[in-house]
Amino acid sequence: MQSFIVNLLNGLSYGLLLFMLSAGLTLIFSMLGVLNFAHASFYMLGAYVGFSVAARAGFWSALVIAPLAVGLLGAAFERWLLRRVRVHGHLPELLLTFGAAYLLGELVKLGWGLSPLSASVPVVLDGPLFSLYGAVFTRYRAFMMAVSLAMLAALVAVLRVSRTGLVVRAALTHPQAVEALGHNVPGVFTGVFAAGTALAALAGVIGAPLFVIEPAMAESLGSIVFVVVVIGGLGSLSGALVASLLVGCVQTLAVASDVSLGEVLSVAGVALPPAWDALTLAQLAPLIPYLLLVAVLALRPRGLFGRRGDHA
């Protein structure tokens, strides 16, 4: 239990990483009305590109170059492909992003091979920041939290204060009126898509040292991000934030715990066959986001912060 605080901090940093992904996803969804199924693939691409750039020019340039490159790719995808199928409605758009996810996965296998790569942490960020009752909170985790919070602040600032943010927010709800006022709404769409994918790529670069870089990383994190977005309520940024932190903390705490399923359920007075009793919560951690999804949807079909009747 002493390490609870450190585990909570670890969970928060993981949750903030999830939020960097789900924020871009939510922005794109509320703007274009399409859930970008390839979002996690852009995250993976960011990790791979970041790895390659970092190997040549160092971690800090990778932190800038990879999101820019992937953001440009995202803009091109929106401009040349997604816009072409928009006339047919949202379903072909979703299918197109699904196809893009499939192709990006194959391209990454082609470009970087099948075996996992491990990204290195720069020297400045290597090592523990502080230790509490023997549990260590690393500097890199703190850096991750700082970057995520800075991105969050920048996002809020741009959306709430700047003129661009005003146009973006107006285009969210009244695209025709904004267009009539002389603003380039398709351009805003492209920009939002590029920003979302760049955010995903940034998450990929800073998340890479924590996980291994492998072709399956898009699928493993992607489904969690989609679950987060649904739990929070589709199209709600604050919901995405709350759900990201929730899923991040619960999953990290479950992984770190050494309680078995039998012990948890014996509190509730439920007995299980012995094969199930021996399962630890840590083993069940991959199930937790999805169980959370089922629980939230059973109680509240529109998600935590979703609006009623949204795309019902």
Partner: protein, 453 residues
């Protein structure tokens, strides 16, 4: 979906004057009889496809391919009940098939029931899972439904890996299909007998789904797809209709999963995996959701890629992905919609006028495919062909190719000149013919020509 309305409206408009009868009754009868016969053609083609090849050759790969295709046909048709008929995009359809097959395998191993009836058991198992998951998923539609099914599918995958004794761990749950009681002297041990069973169930399930798609219930599902608010105003509950469709679709998916079980005698964690959910989505969309036989065509295309192309090159997922994206971009209504659209166009304009445009299009498509195939094969050979073992070497930007990657680079740099020139040439020719094709199409596409976009 709007296009389908337009098309059915157009068909109604064609049928209307005929029924009102400016022409003689006999002529009208002849026409309807012809369309009646024509509606049987796809069925006959399907039967021929399933039945004839085993008489030509009985190699094991042919039977395996046909059995896989038959399974995929039922799977894709069951998926289309959701996507095409009700407008529900699902990312977790393999869960029903896999769990249905798992239940069937357990029942078969425990009770020794006849293998002939096993798909029914699998279907019921699938419907059970559909009934359970549908409770959560069908309260929403659209994108939320898609994401919830994705979450449920991942839940099943994660549970299959972690929970003990479910899927028998890594090995999966195996059955011995010859161990059941004999059925008219057939043990179903040999591949031919098992295939006959699979083919018959494929036909039966397809016909059942065709009949189902003509029921009032599915018409209500179509209404829910097109306009849930109006459907609700008619007095039906959209969520209940969706739930019913999910259960029915899960029934047929479980059937398809069990047909796969009969074929390979094994159900493993792979059969609930996301790859399979993605495959059935790809097959259905490629084939086209608006026509009943669209998913059948899509299943044929998918197994063509995953069995025949895969036996030639390991780049087949890439080609499949490219083909999928090309279909979504060029014909969101799939191959079936594409064919219907262009057949109508040729019928309206006359073959003679369209000939040049279509010849140019075919030529451009061939040239571009040749370019893409050459480029992809070249890259794959450079990447995996020379040293498959050292796949971890960073090839990305050519900077960090070390001692391991040295032969790879020298091999490709010596040979890299000619393929590059050939590629450039092919791409240029392709661009040229595309230009010609687009001009030729523009020449005879007037704004008034009905179905053309």
């Amino acid at each position: 979906m709007r296009k389908r309305d337009a098309r059915s409206a157009a068909r109604g408009a064609v049928a209307q004057p005929e029924r009102l009868g400016t022409a003689a009754d006999a002529a009208g009868f002849g026409l309807s009889a012809r369309s009646f016969v024509r509606s049987f053609v796809p069925w006959l083609a399907l039967m021929a496809f399933l039945a004839l090849p085993p008489f030509v050759g009985s190699q094991s790969w042919l039977l395996a391919y046909l059995a896989q295709t038959a399974t995929m046909i039922v799977f894709a048709l069951s998926y289309n009940l959701l996507l095409g008929e009700t407008g529900l995009l699902s990312f977790g359809h393999a869960a029903y098939a896999g769990l249905g097959a798992l239940i069937a395998a357990r029942v078969f191993n425990a009770s020794g029931m006849p293998l002939v009836l096993l798909p029914l058991v699998g279907g019921m198992g699938g419907a059970l899972c559909g009934g359970l998951f549908g409770l959560i998923a069908t309260r929403r539609s659209g994108t939320a439904f898609a994401m919830i099914t994705l979450g449920l599918g991942e839940l099943v995958v994660a549970a299959a890996w972690t929970l003990p004794g479910w899927f028998g761990g890594e090995a999966g749950v195996a059955i011995d299909r010859a161990s059941g009681p004999r059925f008219f002297g057939l043990s179903f041990g040999p591949a031919r007998e098992a295939y006959a069973l699979i083919a018959l169930w494929c036909l039966a399930a397809s016909m059942a789904m065709f009949a189902l798609s003509r029921t009032p219930f599915m018409r209500l599902a179509n209404a829910v797809r097109d306009n849930p608010a109006r459907a609700a105003a008619l007095g039906c509950y959209p969520a209940r209709i969706r739930y019913g469709v999910v259960v029915l679709s899960a029934f047929f998916a479980g059937m398809a999963g069990t047909m796969g079980l009969v074929n390979i005698e094994l159900v493993s964690t792979e059969s609930v995996g996301m790859m399979r959910s993605g495959a059935v989505l790809i097959a259905t969309v490629i084939g086209g959701t608006a026509a009943f036989f669209g998913p059948v065509a899509g299943a044929l295309v998918l197994t063509f890629f995953s069995v025949i192309v895969a036996s030639v090159t390991r780049a087949w997922p890439f080609y499949l992905g490219l083909f999928f994206v090309a279909v979504v971009l060029a014909a969101p209504d799939g191959l079936a919609g594409f064919c219907v659209r262009h057949a109508a166009r040729i019928a309206a304009q006359g073959w003679r006028r369209c000939r040049a445009a279509y010849l140019w299009s075919v030529l451009a498509a061939l040239l571009w495919s040749a370019t893409v195939v050459l480029a992809v094969q070249w890259v794959y050979a450079a990447r995996f062909g020379v040293d498959e073992g050292a796949a971890g070497v960073l090839f990305g930007f050519g900077a960090n190719v070390g001692a391991d990657g040295a032969p790879l680079v020298s091999a490709s740099s010596v040979a890299s000149w000619w393929p590059a020139v050939a590629l450039a040439l092919l791409a240029a020719l392709g661009a040229l013919t595309t230009r010609c094709a687009m001009r030729a199409h523009a020449r005879f596409t007037s704004p008034s020509s009905g179905d053309a976009r």
